[in-house]
């Protein structure tokens, strides 16, 4: 399925874009994470959480949303 993926913080620097359209074959969030790691090897060892339709979701959640956000922690102040 085609989804819109938004990247935040240092992850957007790795992807070199804030938003992109991806075609994903996996059914759940962990599959999506694997697809992102394949596409962006620098995501390896990075912490991030996935939000689906503006809600944080667990890795086990099914991919139902059209809009995905990939959120890394950051600590600057």
């Amino acid at each position: 399925m085609q989804i819109e993926v938004k990247y935040f913080g240092m992850l957007a620097e790795i992807t070199d874009c804030n938003t992109e359209q991806l075609v994903i074959s996996s059914q759940d969030v962990s599959g999506l994470k694997e697809a992102l790691l394949d596409k962006y090897p620098d995501f390896k060892n990075k912490d991030f959480r996935i939000a689906q339709n503006q809600e944080l979701v667990a890795d086990t959640a099914l991919l139902t949303g059209q809009e995905i956000a990939v959120l890394p922690p950051f600590a600057g102040g």
């Binding site: 990075k46 944080l56 600590a75």
Partner: protein, 372 residues
């Protein structure tokens, strides 16, 4: 009360609301980019007791965004200078300065007397410590964090809402964050995010409007886009913190940052006898074509240690400078100590492009004997 007349004339606040503000106690941890604007508005609003925690001293590079300080503040403790400046803004309130580092041993005693805590710190160690202490003491925590042009704001531990660990259960893994102290930041960004934190504090004190509890507000100053992400309470995370009690995790912040000791800028690699190692996967672009270049993806590095020069200076690079840092750690473990991670990764070469410097570098590499 004429000082607060423009608050009192709002029907949502009134005299009763202003009284609540004047009797509230707020602790702001960190008097830096986020803390300065937060403090300024909370003090102006008349928060009865304000605590300021910061062990650090003012540096000239702080002045671009830490708006409570001036040139004459350089070298002085931030909490003390902030207290002095804010006393002039509003002498009717109590301001307590804590010019010390927040530690697992001191955190409970410092936080306990206050109603609301503001996390305006700049590192993960403090953020997890403050989260765990406020979960334990059941104090609302107004959280703000920034990175370059992006900011996040939310409210934790409020009206049965989530905590920081419900968003990010554990601190980042070692060496996975870019170098903390050198990351740039748009000066006005902490002004926006810190001011939003002050706004959340006032809504909590007044019990009006809707707070960001359960919602992570993300703002991008470059695009003006904002995203509000729903966050649910994770009982397991809260219970874990409560069960551990005041025996807080001891985290050293240097743990999270790629250390600069092993980092090298491209300018410092010119005209030297260097062996370069590209630890990216072989399909990652752009490829570099120096004479003395090894291409060993990070995963294969442990099996190819013998290919690496024991005499030359080693400069490792990847796409952004994170994997190369891991590679340097790995090489150090194999007793190869004269090795450095190239700052900004392959983009450092790209920035130079086909300039003289790049040519000189290639030239210098040509003069050394080829690796066998």
């Amino acid at each position: 009360m004429s000082r607060y007349s423009r608050h009192i004339s709002l029907k949502e606040i009134g005299i009763a609301g202003q009284d609540k503000i004047n009797t509230s106690k707020v602790l702001v941890i960190g008097a830096g980019g986020l803390g300065c604007p937060t403090l300024q508005y909370l003090v102006a609003a008349g928060v009865g007791t304000i605590g300021i925690v910061d062990f650090d001293v003012v540096d000239v590079s702080n002045l671009q965004r830490q708006i409570l300080f001036g040139t004459s503040s350089i070298g002085k403790n931030k909490a003390e200078v902030a207290k002095e400046v804010l006393r002039h803004l509003n002498p009717t309130i109590q301001i307590n300065a804590y010019s010390e580092k927040l530690t697992p041993k001191t955190v409970v005693a410092i936080i306990e007397p206050y109603d609301i805590v503001v996390d305006a710190t700049d590192n993960f160690a403090s953020r997890y410590l403050i989260n765990d202490a406020t979960v334990l003491l059941e104090k609302p925590l107004v959280y703000g964090a920034i990175y370059k042009f992006e900011g996040q704001v939310t409210v934790f531990n409020y009206k049965n809402g989530p905590s920081y660990r419900c968003v990010f259960p554990n601190p980042p893994q070692k060496g996975t964050m870019p170098n903390c102290s050198e990351v740039g930041v748009l000066g006005v960004l902490p002004g926006i995010i810190g001011t939003m934190q002050a706004n959340e504090v006032l809504k909590i004190i007044l019990n009006i409007g809707k707070t960001l509890s359960g919602k992570l507000y993300c703002f991008n100053a470059l695009t003006n886009q904002s995203n509000t992400i729903g966050v649910s309470r994770n009982e397991d995370q809260i219970t874990k913190v409560k069960n551990r009690g005041p025996h807080f995790e001891v985290l050293d912040d240097s743990f999270f940052c790629a250390s600069n000791a092993s980092e090298i800028t491209i300018e410092n690699t010119i005209n030297q006898d260097i062996q370069n190692i590209d630890v990216r996967e072989l399909n990652e672009q752009p490829r570099m074509t120096f004479n003395d270049l090894l291409e060993i993806p990070l995963g294969e590095l442990p099996n190819k240690i013998e290919a690496i020069s024991k005499v030359k200076k080693i400069v490792v690079f990847c796409q952004s400078g994170i994997r190369s840092h891991q590679a340097v750690t790995l090489l150090n473990e194999h007793n190869i100590s004269n090795c450095y991670s190239l700052k900004h990764g392959v983009s450092a070469f790209e920035e130079l492009g086909n300039t003289e410097v790049y040519a000189e570098r290639s030239q210098s590499n040509k003069t050394v004997s080829k690796r066998t």
